[in-house]
Symmetry: C2
Subunit: 346 residues, 2 copies
């Protein structure tokens, strides 16, 4: 059933070169022969073999995207956004999910190379080792790439400004009069959200109580938020607010708090990060930091498409760009802002 260009040529009574010409629509072809060929194509139900084409053109029109998993709103929304931009340009995305394993990451990258992807989107929320062999190895191939992680060197980066986002969130809590703010679910290697947490304290001349900083080596989930909050409660270190690494962690914290008979936000205020769909529907509606995912996806796509359009030499010399998106604090009820009348604001 799969027709080839040869059969189309025979059917139309021309050479394969001419068929190729109408397929690519660049060279001039006499209108009458073009029609004959188009008819033949339709009749035989012919589809070009992109793989064969790739070999010659030296481009596969394929983008590799590497992420921890898709069953997480942030990544799946990002995928949808990227899809919108790339598909229109004739690119196909293949995604590899690492499950946060560096070995899997290397395996995926290898398979991307074997498939000769034209570009890579790096969304591997993985703590990178000091001697980053994978990256060094990869950079040898000089494939256009854009990262969502500022820690990755040598590629364009598109990121939410999490230092700002976290600072805003914690600052909000602090100004609301909450003094003992716990930070739950950050990675073992402190990242910008933790820095923001500290920054907010610093700016107000407040000291961070290190006992309230709970990092985790696993991914930031409901369970982590739930367990760490429970643990905090058991330890009896007093705290009046929780800043969750993401919304899932915050949801977990709220449930743990409620089970302990504490009210949110009256007794303990909670703020999350990401603004997932559920944040607004949760009870209490979650105050959280919104990242402009669609814009991030758009910038990512644009940067990559730009690189792709350059010739290799221009690419080498082009400066690495670093696009940072402002985040937005979405104040709902879980932070307790509504509890205070404007007059009582500090």
């Amino acid at each position: 059933m799969k027709a080839t260009i040869k059969e189309v040529a025979r059917e139309a009574g021309v050479s394969i070169a001419t068929v190729s010409r109408v397929l690519n629509g660049k060279d001039r072809v006499k209108a009458s022969t073009r029609e004959k060929i188009e008819e033949a194509i339709k009749k035989l139900n012919f589809q070009v073999d992109q793989n064969a084409r790739s070999m010659i053109k030296k481009e596969t029109r394929t983008i590799g995207m590497i992420v921890p998993e898709l069953s997480n709103e942030y990544w799946s929304h990002l995928f949808d956004a990227l899809q919108d931009h790339f598909w229109g340009n004739g690119y196909t995305i293949i995604v590899g999910t690492t499950g946060r394993s560096l070995e899997k990451e290397a395996a995926i990258l290898k398979s991307f190379l074997e498939r000769r992807v034209d570009g890579i989107v790096f969304g591997t929320a993985l703590p990178r080792p000091e001697r980053d062999e994978t990256m060094d190895w990869l950079s040898g191939y000089s494939i256009p790439a854009v990262s969502l992680d500022p820690k990755v060197k040598g590629m364009h980066c598109v990121v939410g400004d999490h230092l700002q986002g976290a600072t805003d969130a914690v600052d909000h809590l602090l100004r609301l009069g909450r003094r003992d703010v716990a930070f739950i679910g950050g990675p073992t290697l402190p990242d910008n959200r933790e820095l923001g947490y500290r920054n907010a304290h610093l700016r107000l001349g407040l000291q961070v109580n290190e006992a309230l900083v709970r990092r985790t080596s696993s991914s930031a989930t409901f369970q982590v938020g739930y367990k760490e909050t429970k643990r905090l409660l058991e330890e009896k270190t007093p705290f009046t607010a929780v800043f969750g690494y993401n919304d899932a962690v915050a949801f977990g914290a709220v449930r743990a708090l409620e089970e302990a008979g504490l009210r949110v936000p009256q007794d303990v205020a909670v703020v999350g990060y990401d603004d997932v769909q559920m944040a607004a529907m949760f009870k209490p509606p979650l105050t959280t930091v919104r990242q402009p995912v669609r814009e991030i996806g758009e910038a990512l796509a644009q940067l990559l498409l730009e690189s792709l359009a350059m010739d290799p030499e221009a690419r080498r010399t082009a400066p690495r760009k670093n696009v940072s998106f402002k985040t937005e604090l979405i104040v709902r009820e879980s932070c307790g802002a509504a509890l205070m009348t404007p007059a009582t604001w500090p």
Copy 2:
């Protein structure tokens, strides 16, 4: 930077055929030459070109997956499940998202054909037209495919048993004494969930109040649940329970009910479908029907892998399988079962 098999051959001082042999590891190669070649491969950082290989082998080791969108837990979880099974077998998945447009669907399928995918996973939750040209056209290519939609003919199907799931859910509500159960968010073309809803009534000799059946042409979201419930409330058609097409719809219904000053489940019971992560964390915890997504993904992968392993003729004659997975009613609080002591059960 991209080395070819030729360069490896030269480096190792052998012919390309021998290199190919160690690459594919089938023919015997003398240990010493093998080592030389492996060294050369490492030294040159060589990666086989899968595209070139595909041309000869007539298989791309690529699976095309077509779904409405990934930003929906069901699809993204399914993707993760499929990824687990296919990746291990050397397959790569490319995803096409239709956004529920038939044209986009056709375009995606066309691109799948051009890329010569070995198999297709059909997750297009789209009402199919009577004269299904796309499908007819596609079937001409006889590509192994598995569908998640029983309405698609001529391929294997793997589905959750939604007739049973919906029947169970509504039966549960009915037995709890709720008599006016609304069904919200189903598609305009009644599907198995609506049938289950009716079936449950039928079996108990109860009549469905058609004013309580609210279908929608858009996708089943929180907004749909919210709006339709609000509308129902305004219309003053009395109802004591809501069966949502999925969890998102159910969440929306709960919020609309609460805003109207109604208590869930005391005044109105609510049951959802899918058991998304949030269902358990919601307030009240949502009673819902769980689909075994991972198992579905596994069966899907297995069926497809099986087809892929057959030779074309065996494939033609092999019977189409229809695997159906039992769903499970997860009773939490929103249905009000806990309100009743065992003695008061009907």
